[in-house]
């Protein structure tokens, strides 16, 4: 079982390569090969939702380019990977690129790194011989107000003797159009490769591919299909699918411990169902049912206020009035204003509602942060209906 969990772990890279990303990988590979062959620079932009395999695919492309260059007898390009969340300052990216190109030279403080790079790429003598493959991960952290850093980064590839192959990875599909209009005018728009979210078939193919290492069938086919369908409908995020499969294996293991019969079963549809409901369920209804009585009545008053009219916000004073009405109708003595505002603060602390600021306590704005249908569903279980039909 441990081998199964390891095979399904997000960090494991399958040794036989990625599947379902051949098209995108070949596009990036062709682009890099062309750049290395013709010894010219270029820019590429990879985009897609989180969990679609961008970083993994680009890492594989890096290895492939190195191998290909070796086979063809050309100079292997240097590779540099930068994750922009680790940069304290957006300009540091230039000093990092400079440090890779000139490893022996110490950083001279006279000119800023960007200018040094620009002068280096403009003259034939100072340009480095080998190509440099720069992979910039989480590129949207480089977006500043004046967008200078992004512009300058991509403009580095336009110099006559530039040697950079720049691959940028981010989530926004239109980063290139929205943030780099100058590049369009200079006619050097970067090539855009979109990694679409995984479909149901792709998810189940990838999981089966990972489990090829294990000899026998670990999952029931219906269970895998159910998982793939649910995750594809929600986000198409591969990490979530792998996480759900792992927790289904854990549920299976826990059942094995309890029943203590040692036969090697398979992970069935029921185990997958439990794991999926844990992953996708929200805790709201359960926690509403466990609130103390008066706090439940406050939530009920809030739901009532928004049920009747289409408003989104109300004040604490109005809420107090409807709360007192509910208390009167259910013959429960209401609490005073001070305790009421304390209860509202506790509820907003837990994320059920949001309280605004105001000088006067009664004029504080109250907004509901959870779904009204959750409140309706929770209170249906009570004997008497607190929510009056409109």
């Amino acid at each position: 079982m441990q081998a199964v969990k390891e095979a399904l772990h997000v960090a494991t890279v399958p040794s036989s390569g990625l599947i379902c990303r051949d098209d995108e990988q070949s596009r990036v590979l062709e682009f890099c090969k062309a750049c290395v062959e013709q010894e010219r620079a270029g820019g590429l932009y990879v985009c897609g939702c989180p969990g679609t395999g961008k970083t993994l695919a680009i890492n594989m492309v890096k290895e492939s380019v190195k191998r290909w260059a070796n086979d063809m007898g050309m100079e292997t390009p240097d590779a540099l990977s930068i994750n922009c969340t680790s940069l304290a300052n957006t300009h540091e990216i230039f000093s990092k690129i400079l440090a890779t190109l000139q490893p022996r030279k110490k950083a001279t403080g006279k000119l800023p790194p960007l200018q040094q790079l620009q002068t280096m790429f403009s003259h034939k003598e100072s340009a480095p011989r080998r190509m440099l493959l720069v992979v910039v991960d989480e590129m949207d952290y480089l977006i500043t107000r004046d967008r200078a850093v992004l512009h300058d980064l991509f403009l580095l590839t336009t110099y006559q003797f530039s040697r950079c192959i720049l691959i940028g990875i981010a989530n926004a599909i239109d980063l290139a159009y929205r943030f780099l209009p100058k590049l369009e005018s200079l006619n050097c728009k970067p090539l855009v490769v979109t990694f679409r979210a995984y479909s149901k078939d792709q998810i189940s193919d990838i999981i089966k591919h990972r489990l090829k290492v294990i000899e026998y069938d670990v999952f029931e086919p219906m269970a895998l299909e159910f998982c793939a369908r649910k995750v594809a409908a929600a986000s198409g995020d591969m990490r979530k699918a792998l996480g759900v499969c792992r927790s289904a294996v854990e549920v299976f293991e826990a059942r094995l411990h309890e029943s203590s019969d040692q036969e090697f079963g398979v992970v069935t549809f029921d185990h997958m169902d439990i794991a999926l409901s844990k992953a996708f369920k929200s805790a709201v209804v359960d926690s509403i049912l466990c609130l103390p009585q008066h706090q439940q009545m406050v939530l009920c008053a809030l739901a009532n206020t928004f049920h009747h009219c289409k408003k989104k916000a109300t004040t604490l004073g109005e809420l107090n009035k409807s709360y007192i009405e509910i208390c009167r109708s259910t013959q429960v003595p209401a609490v005073g204003m001070l305790e009421f505002s304390n209860m509202c603060m506790v509820l907003s602390d837990q994320g059920f509602m949001k309280l605004g600021q105001s000088k006067e306590d009664k004029l504080r704005i109250v907004m509901l942060k959870i779904d009204i249908s959750d409140i309706n569903f929770a209170f249906k279980a009570f004997d008497f209906y607190w929510i009056k039909p409109s």
Partner: protein, 420 residues
């Protein structure tokens, strides 16, 4: 007599010590199956023994025992795997700034592994140090457990710390577990989509206990053990008395009234501490009276006490203010109150008709007692500044009922408003 007193004080000290010890309070969780404690222990334990990365979020209202469960799990695991775990603790209120958090992580790592920490290290150095340490510990099969309290405060701003922690866990070389503790139930919705994708969806929800489990908790804490150094006869008498109190119907009423407002464990512990403090020192036994005293001391109403001391005229003024509020006057001042007072006197012709100056003195007295206050910061003459009530209608009604010298007409005035 002296012997009995010393036994009582010893018993009291023992009980107080128990209530204040978080480890003892939650130790009953160790034996019960399928609690959040056992789930968390299984999760962390299997991650440590299988040397893989994991992340989990503990959610629940304040005072439900989340931090206590984390401490228990960590204690147990340290005993089982003495050298394989090191713990880094961060708190969202203290370390929400990324640089500060990185410095704290580096400092704690240095402390655990007996390296010297340099205060001059920059944020970059600290990040690199953390990543190197993760790699080293991964090679040495040591797991680093990050405990992030007030997790929702880390999710403000750009969430760099969370991203770098969770990203470091995506590689095979590191062995880390991230345990987030938060009181916001939607803490995982606050995460940015990149961070949320890297965070596993595991959540453990802590809910306030039901009345039955509260009763079991009280038994666990209040029953004296037979093997303590107190005399056996006393222990048996004490335990018998406590059991009889628990089965009394009045006790259920006390418990219900307590859990109506707040059912969390910390609230119950505060209540139990007061119960033990109200122990009868002569006999050394608890009684129903100690429980009732504790309940009333937790539900004190200081404003009710000052309402009892007011004179009739002051009560009139409060009732008039209440009538004005009920008539939806958004703001009113002393002059409007006097008009209302005069109209009431004209309607009912009571003997409590006082002149303007005397009423104004009563008004100032109410301001001093802070039962009413001005609604604006500063301004015109005292008679024309808007005022507001600082007590609720229930408190006013209840105090009128309890006041023996209150004239019946006041009650009628108040009642007329509420059921109009």
């Amino acid at each position: 007599m002296a012997a009995a007193a010393s036994v009582a004080s010893q018993a009291q000290a023992l009980l107080r010590g128990r209530i204040c010890d978080q480890g003892f309070v939650h130790s009953a969780l160790r034996s019960s199956p399928d609690t959040n404690y056992s789930k968390l222990k299984y999760l962390v334990g299997s991650s440590v023994s299988e040397a893989c990365n994991n992340s989990v979020l503990l959610l629940g209202p304040r005072g439900c025992g989340k931090a206590a469960v984390v401490e228990m799990v960590l204690d147990d695991l340290k005993k089982e795997h003495p050298d394989a775990i090191s713990v880094i603790r961060l708190n969202g209120m203290l370390h929400s700034d990324d640089n500060c958090a990185m410095k704290e992580i580096a400092r704690q790592l240095c402390l655990e592994h007996q390296l010297s920490f340099s205060k001059m290290a920059s944020s970059d150095d600290n990040t690199e140090f953390m990543i190197d340490m993760l790699r080293e510990c991964g090679l040495a099969h040591k797991t680093i457990i990050f405990v992030l309290e007030e997790f929702d405060l880390f999710a403000q701003g750009k969430q760099r710390l969370l991203y770098s922690l969770l990203d470091a866990m995506q590689s095979l070389t590191s062995q880390a577990i991230v345990i987030g503790v938060s009181c916001r139930l939607d803490a995982d919705q606050l995460l940015e989509k990149r961070v949320r994708s890297r965070f596993s969806h595991r959540k453990l929800i802590f809910l306030p206990s039901s009345v039955d489990s509260l009763q079991r908790l009280m038994e666990h804490l209040l029953m004296l053990p037979k093997d303590s150094h107190l005399p056996t006869k006393y222990v048996m008498e004490y335990n018998a008395r406590v059991t009889s109190i628990f089965s009394d119907k009045k006790f259920k009423g006390i418990l219900n009234s307590l859990t109506d407002s707040d059912a969390t464990t910390s609230h119950i512990l505060r209540f139990l501490f007061r119960v033990v403090s109200y122990m009868d020192m002569d006999s050394g036994l608890l009684s129903m009276q100690s429980f009732m005293n504790a309940l009333s001391s937790m539900q004190r109403q200081p404003k009710m006490d000052s309402l009892q001391d007011l004179s009739i005229l002051e009560l009139y003024i409060l009732v008039c203010m209440h009538r004005l509020e009920d008539k939806e006057h958004s703001s009113y001042n002393f002059t409007t109150i006097m008009k209302e007072y005069k109209s009431v006197q004209d309607a009912y012709r009571t003997s409590d008709n006082y002149s303007h100056n005397i009423c104004f003195r009563a008004f100032e007295h109410l301001l001093d007692r802070e039962l009413i206050s001005f609604a604006d910061k500063k301004g015109k003459a005292l008679e024309y500044r808007p005022v507001k009530l600082l007590i609720s209608s229930q408190e006013l009604a209840q105090s009128l009922k309890l006041n023996t010298i209150c004239p019946a007409v006041l009650q009628k005035l108040l009642d007329r408003e509420r059921y109009m």
